[in-house]
Amino acid sequence: MTTLTLAKALNEGMRKAMEDDPKVLVMGEDVGKLGGVFRVTDGLQKDFGEERVIDTPLAESGIVGTAIGLALRGYRPVCEIQFDGFVFPAADQIITQLAKMPLRSLGALKLPVVVRIPCGGGIGAVEHHSESPEAYFTHTAGLRVVACSNPADAYAMIQQAIRCDDPVIFFEPKRRYWEKAEVDTAAAEEWFPLDRARVVRPGTDVTLLAYGPMVKTCLEAAAAAEEDGRSLEIVDLRSLNPLDTAAIAESVRRTGRCVVVHEAPVFGGFGAELAARITEECFYSLEAPVLRVGGPSTPYPPSRLEEHYLPDLDRVLDAVDRAFTF
């Protein structure tokens, strides 16, 4: 057990993966000497060399496109997209190539490529640096989409993602990068499966579904609600595609109420899939419709407005209250 920040846990996880498998490469803008703008790749180039930790030209399509080629040659590239808002130049390579090539080959090809995306707001940044583009990828068949919410998961999940033979879009909650927790760097074989949701706080009255940065927000809300005598169960989804529907439905059937929380705009966001699916699964158990808490259906605002844009404890509790008015 060591205490690590989430950023450091990712760093250690990648380091471990690179030690375990010489085919693992890290590539992206500024991932080398600088160690990435968030220092998540800090020290890796120093230790593994420029051949394995590659500072690429400044073009995201090129990053993902060449990563695909490297994977075809037997490598396991881990690409860093510098910020969420800059993944879109790579959209074509991700959606039409990375996601579809294994199927196109009838299984002859596998593409173990990880695309790491620091995501979400709350860091006072300028435009394009605070977005939550997960819904673009959860709707893209052929991709796995995961989101870590804490250092221990970050450490394990990045290694699991790298070992996975499918392409994985890996979301990292950038405003939680500096939060610390105990990480058991030894228990490699006992990792919780990458595609499973986890109840991170048991409760009886309402199920809160969250992932990435919002898990902590929900935990805070649960602590506050407890004082009001309300027991919230928090499920950290971890994997968005595939979704652990069984685990979620089990919780919602017990509580009878469900609130979904994410930072992305509500309209067409991933919460819509959660709400639709849960309603279908748990129709007779639901005392209220699944309520969604998310960003307004607008572009991410200037940072002086982000406290109003981002779901916070109050917005979550407000939705919980509303779930009881039905």
């Binding site: 695909i68 490297l70 499918d166 595609n241």
Partner: protein, 372 residues
């Protein structure tokens, strides 16, 4: 001859040519090739056979057996010349039109038809032939090829007995961001990759002028690596130029852009109607430069082959055509549940759920005797 028709009608001076349209061997200061009669006959055979496969595919499409077909007619020399320059260790990344290259890589022609028939999205194992799947999204394969070449570098497979990558794309593709990014990556990392652009003068209905105002081979100079324009209807020149580029790439000298100056003699695909946008004269001018005729003329004039040889090749071609047709018709439709196969390599819960639900939906019809 109209302005349109004059496109490429006279060979530009920078064009590498070793065999004229009339079948005369010419010298080039930088490129030469020394082929045995047997090798030349083999090239001729390749050209004829791939043209025959292509014709058969067009016919199959007309008869409703294929949904669509992208003909290589006119581009045989570019594809056979470059394809025969590859060693087994080299890796090729095609578009959707590289039937001739596929032939050189040993891909069974019938396997090419699956995609166009609609029974699969790609019917061969790329690793088995070192020939990647057809790529339809214009230009995207160029980055894959460069990444693959970077993998070759990391494998230490550059140098003597090294390997290289070749990637095919069209004149239209040169406008895509991806293609230009691939030039950047290749030059910055000095990757062992040959960019093989078949400039067939048209991107569907758009003539080259819509993509570039200078010859395409010169694009490379803007990225700091060599570009060369070769007569794409001259199989000798295509072989020589590609061989040299691959040798250079394999030995660590980095990327080269080859522009094979050729012509799309047919429609863009069987869905296309070129009479809407191009003049017949242009086609006629290019017919005189047919890639097969000139080899035939050369073989004939130099008495390297007799009529019996030509007849034999034609017979082989017919047989191949018949075989391709027969096996095309035999290609089974995939099972409905195949929709869920290979989407993921590892087990995936949603696929399992949807597959099961769909199976049960389908079985409902069986009990209902075919449903409503």
């Amino acid at each position: 001859m109209t302005a349109d028709a004059s496109r490429g009608a006279q060979a530009p001076p920078e064009l590498v040519q070793l065999l004229t349209p009339e079948g005369e061997r010419v010298e080039h200061p930088d490129y030469d090739i020394d082929l045995t009669p047997e090798e030349i006959r083999a090239l001729y055979r390749d050209l004829v056979l791939v043209r025959r496969v292509d014709l058969e595919a067009v016919a199959l499409q007309r008869q409703g057996e294929l949904g669509i077909w992208a003909s290589l007619l006119g581009q045989e020399a570019a594809q056979i010349g470059s394809g025969r320059a590859l060693t087994d260790a080299d890796m090729a990344f095609p578009t959707y039109r590289e039937h001739g290259v596929a032939w050189c890589r040993g891909v069974d022609p019938v396997n090419l038809l699956g995609l166009f028939r609609g029974v699969n999205h790609g019917g061969w194992d790329p690793a088995e032939h070192n020939f990647h799947l057809y790529t339809i999204v214009i230009g995207s394969q160029t980055l894959h090829a460069v990444g693959y070449a970077m993998g070759i570098q990391r494998d230490g497979a550059v140098g003597e007995n090294g390997a290289a990558t070749i990637v095919y794309f069209g004149d239209g593709a040169t406008s895509q961001g991806d293609v230009n990014e691939s030039f950047i990556w290749a030059s910055v990392f000095n990757a062992p990759v040959v960019f093989f652009c078949q400039n067939n003068q048209w991107a569907i209905s758009e003539p080259l002028e819509k993509q570039s105002r200078i010859p395409l081979y010169r694009r490379a100079s803007g990225f700091g690596f060599p570009g060369v324009r070769v007569d794409g209807n001259d199989v000798f020149a295509c072989l020589a130029v590609t061989r040299k580029a691959l040798t250079d790439a394999r030995s660590g000298q980095g990327p080269v852009l080859i522009e094979a100056f050729t012509y799309r003699m047919g429609a863009h695909t069987t869905s296309d109607d070129p009479t809407r946008y191009r003049v017949q004269d242009e086609l006629e001018a290019w017919k005189l430069k047919d890639p097969i005729e000139r080899v035939r003329a050369y073989l004939f004039k130099n008495q390297l082959a007799d009529q019996a040889f030509f007849d034999e090749v034609d017979a082989e071609a017919d047989e191949l055509g018949r075989d391709v047709r027969k096996r095309c018709l035999e290609m089974p439709d995939p099972e409905p549940l195949a929709i869920f196969d290979h989407v993921y390599t590892e087990p995936h819960r949603l696929m399992d759920e949807e597959r099961a639900a769909f199976a049960s939906y389908l079985s409902g019809f069986e009990t209902e005797e075919g449903g409503r």
